[in-house]
């Protein structure tokens, strides 16, 4: 993996504190991700996985022939993912610690489904463009790019998406060769608490 190096970890948490497996992860999260388009046997990328709130339900759906690659630049949470996976006897999660780079060592058209859940607000416009382009490269032709957009106008804390509306976000993703497909509503996990929300799904347009 190559590219930028940004350190964002915090000095205030000990990696030995592990978040518990929540009921949402093994039940409602599974239902939601099925509705969002994840299917058995698929190859999934969870970019910015943190404690694995979406990694776990995705791994439950894809079962043992599928795999979830869970990437984060902050690996203090990987123990929690391992622990939850052990409890559920899941052997199909591969955690990868990066240095924040946006280009990956994955082959072209490798993934069936890419999750960018509650993570885009960490990246400025140029970085987001690099990430979309890279996602386009590694996503299968019939794959889905799924985004949980948070921390846009009016949603504290405001970071790199503070001035971006949903419509603008859709346009910037579409400008990288994707086509907006649908909005999927449901009970979502945001920062370990549950709220009604939605993700937006994109498919690849051909010839881009």
């Amino acid at each position: 993996m190559n590219g930028k190096k940004v350190k964002r970890g915090s000095i205030f948490h000990s990696k030995h504190n592990m978040i518990k497996l929540s009921k949402w992860e093994s039940k409602k999260g599974v239902e939601f991700l099925k509705k969002a388009g994840i299917k058995q046997d698929q190859i999934i990328l969870d970019f910015g996985c943190n404690v694995g709130n979406y990694t776990i339900p995705a791994a439950i759906i894809v079962k043992e022939k599928g795999i979830v690659f869970a990437i984060d630049e902050d690996d203090h949470t990987f123990g929690a993912i391992d622990n939850k996976a052990k409890l559920l006897e899941l052997n199909n999660i591969k955690t990868i610690k990066t240095n924040g780079e946006l280009n990956f060592d994955f082959a072209d058209i490798f993934f069936d489904f890419i999750m960018l859940y509650d993570v885009l607000h960490y990246l400025n416009f140029q970085q987001r463009k690099i990430l979309y382009k890279e996602n386009y490269r590694i996503l299968r032709t019939d794959g889905i790019l799924s985004i949980h957009p948070k921390h846009m106008i009016g949603n504290f804390p405001l970071m790199e998406l503070r001035n971006v509306t949903l419509q603008q976000l859709i346009i910037e993703v579409e400008n990288s060769g994707f086509k907006f497909k649908e909005k999927i509503f449901g009970e979502l996990n945001h920062d370990n608490h549950l709220e009604e929300g939605y993700v937006i799904n994109f498919s690849k347009t051909v010839n881009c």
Partner: protein, 179 residues
């Protein structure tokens, strides 16, 4: 070290930590409590609890299991021990790593304030080589002792304190009970 400068340094760290707990998405404070949350409780910074120590590294890094509050047994390596004095009495704390490759030392402990002014299940210190080691000495500063996150929310599981790290002395430094 000048005690006023030291106090400021500790207090600055505490302001940063309170801010993290109030606003960061990784905060262990349940979201419904965060609007009310202002700050954590601490003993006043006291240089008497700050030590610069050599770690007496174990020749053979014994593999041990530490139970956590969820009943799981977690693997640790007993990496070495720190010996220090409080009120002219010698005490020992063991430091652990979860893997050989790890650069952090984990120093969980209980003391005579546990269950009274401080959290009953003990407190933790994480030492980071880059930040807490000067040449061959580690800075073991008990003013930075923190509560396990189980102290704030039922959503966490945290390692319990190994018997060998229970100190028979009051450590009136670091974080106090949350509520």
């Amino acid at each position: 070290m000048n005690s006023e400068a030291y106090k400021n340094q500790v207090e600055l760290n505490r302001i940063g930590k309170d801010n993290f707990f109030k606003t960061n998405f990784q905060s262990p404070i349940p979201s419904e409590e965060r609007t009310k949350f202002t700050k954590l409780n601490y003993f006043d910074p006291d240089l008497k609890y700050r030590f610069e120590l050599e770690l007496e590294e174990s020749d053979h890094k014994e593999k041990i299991k530490i139970e956590d509050t969820g009943g799981n047994l977690r693997d640790f390596l007993k990496w070495g021990k720190f010996t220090f004095e409080i009120n002219k009495q010698e005490y020992v704390l063991f430091a652990y790593k979860s893997t050989k490759e790890e650069t952090r030392l984990f120093v969980p402990f209980k003391d005579a304030t546990s269950g009274k002014e401080t959290y009953g299940a003990g407190r933790y210190i994480d030492l980071e080589e880059e930040r807490d080691k000067i040449e061959n000495k580690w800075i073991l500063d008990l003013n930075f002792a923190t509560n396990p996150w189980c102290a704030y929310s039922h959503n966490y599981v945290c390692p319990l304190i190994p018997f060998e790290n229970i100190l028979q002395v009051e450590i009136k430094a670091g974080e106090k009970s949350y509520k």
